[in-house]
Subunit: 328 residues, 2 copies
């Protein structure tokens, strides 16, 4: 069997299951969550995440060197954000084609550095390698107070489902690019310069009200499936509550718009759940929208008065789940 | 200017210099050493290192899947070893060609897992990605007692220069492969299944006698240059003291043998310095050889009664320093 015949999530689960298993200091190991979580004693957990990006599938042709660098750091910081963690450092390994201009590498490095600094951390190390295709693997380290760690698995039936920012903007920008439409700056930036929700994650974590959280980099629908599976619950969301940016509404209509809001990746917002009596604690902490609630099982959307099942469709590198829009 | 026109060490220094710089918790940042070193309070430093490997330049055709996995973990553990650190976890990002058999991926994962477990740690996370060329970026985390951290920069004139294990074995195995000679198992394993000196690093670190240390993955000569530059000292080593495995001596002679011992990469031994009065403390801690001493400046070898300068030649990904033998 070829890996391309396998859904990426199944491949990851298969790999994670084949590993020897976790030592007593490993709170969350491979395949369990957005980040691995280690307990080294003290009052904080150490969290770590890694992401490999490369030219062909992760950096659209129009992306600048600076944006490539920013993106490479941002995708990793976004995984830390989903844990409510404070970043403490990034290491960046770069595979660079031999004929790359040094000035282009400088721009990539500046983008990484700017992104790290913007979120209160820095590039502390890395590796350079000669590679046919531009390939960047970032690894981000963070810490989170032991009482404030948020996982994917804590959602309870009756919890409220919430989302930071907007959904569908990055996918919309890519589709606009492909169909020669003029997307606004804010939409284009969602694709080319994603803003990891580090500060929102920290604020949300500090409330103690959040029961589960992850980022939506693979798309909202797939993230709802992931969070539901990890917490052994379902979700019901409402079409008319989905936060879609008004600039995107000017570009696309109805079904196209909903498709982007649900199934396109690359947004890097936080999807999270809170106990119903905790909404007041949370709602002024960041720009967020209540989009639905946690139910027993199944992933549904209420639309035109009826309930529709949401497919586990979104971004994946392998197999048939992916639409090929962008990278987790 | 293209990156290929640049020596890899100059490229790394150039990138490191362009970063914004280090926060107060960063003891060693980008470009400074084998690992980045963070102080998160408590009694230990956190150390972290990353390495990108890929099919074309790092995994010889004859390497098995298991060996590819082992190697990918081992190169990172070796960098921890050079800090005297205890490994606490590895994250592994894998870029896998679509037509790869799942059974081959399984072997790679088994190799990584076995290597991590062999050295008392585990794979705690990772990423999978569809990639034209098999590419694996490992990141290793470790801890080291604050008093026991060893850097590249502490060597003093008059210190004794030492090496664990043997030098030239991996390069010799590659050359044997290319020239259809039958290398012994121990020589072949040095190339295909390098054994990171984690336990030796921890033992050496605990003595408090080691003033500087790094691994020899880029070759002994280049490592002497790197350690010399970081410590602002020179080295004099002795040809007749170099530990070359007797199986390698059966395969090659004289100048070829010396060339391998000095200039071929892939060995993953520890090169370290100790104060001259501390030799007794150290010499029974592991399999090691005194190969020379620290001098004011210049990197020299005493050979046939005369002194020769050692060129900064060995493995590099870019530019002219590299012979193209294997990966740091």
């Amino acid at each position: 069997m070829k890996v391309s015949e396998m859904d990426e999530r199944k491949l990851v689960a298969h790999i994670a299951n084949s590993l020897t298993g976790k030592g007593k200091n490993v709170i969350a190991g491979a395949g369990a969550d957005d980040c691995a979580v280690l307990d080294q004693g003290g009052e904080e957990y150490l969290v770590i995440t890694t992401d490999m990006l490369h030219r062909k599938s992760d950096f659209p042709e129009k992306m600048t060197g600076w944006q490539i660098g920013w993106m490479s750091a941002a995708v990793n910081l976004s995984d830390l954000a989903a844990k409510g963690a404070i970043p403490i450092g990034l290491v960046m390994a770069m595979g660079i084609p031999d004929d790359t201009e040094l000035s282009f590498v400088d721009k990539i490095v500046k983008g990484m550095d700017d992104c790290a600094i913007r979120f209160g951390t820095e590039i502390i190390g890395g590796d350079t390698d000669s590679h046919d295709e531009l390939t960047i693997t970032g690894t981000a380290l963070g810490v989170v107070r032991k009482g404030a760690l948020i996982t994917r698995s804590g959602a309870n039936v009756g919890d409220i489902a919430c989302l930071t920012g907007y959904t569908g903007s990055a996918g919309g920008a890519l589709h606009a690019l492909e169909t020669n439409r003029d997307a606004s700056d804010v939409i284009t930036k969602a694709l080319f310069e994603p803003f990891p929700r580090i500060y929102e994650g920290m604020e949300l974590g500090a409330t103690g009200a959040v029961t589960s959280m992850m980022d939506t980099s693979d798309g909202l629908a797939l993230s709802l499936h992931d969070l539901g599976r990890a917490s052994d619950v379902g979700f019901k969301i409402y079409e008319n509550k989905l936060p879609v940016h008004h600039d995107l509404k000017k570009l696309f209509e109805d079904d196209d718009l909903l498709d982007m809001a649900l199934y396109s990746g690359g947004d890097f917002e936080l999807l999270f759940t809170i106990a119903p009596d905790k909404l007041e604690l949370v709602k002024n902490k960041c720009d967020m929208t209540v989009i639905g609630e946690v139910i027993d099982n199944g992933i549904f959307i209420e639309k035109n008065g009826g309930l529709e099942e949401l497919k586990a469709r979104g971004y994946g590198h392998f197999g048939k789940s992916g639409k090929g829009i962008f990278k987790s």
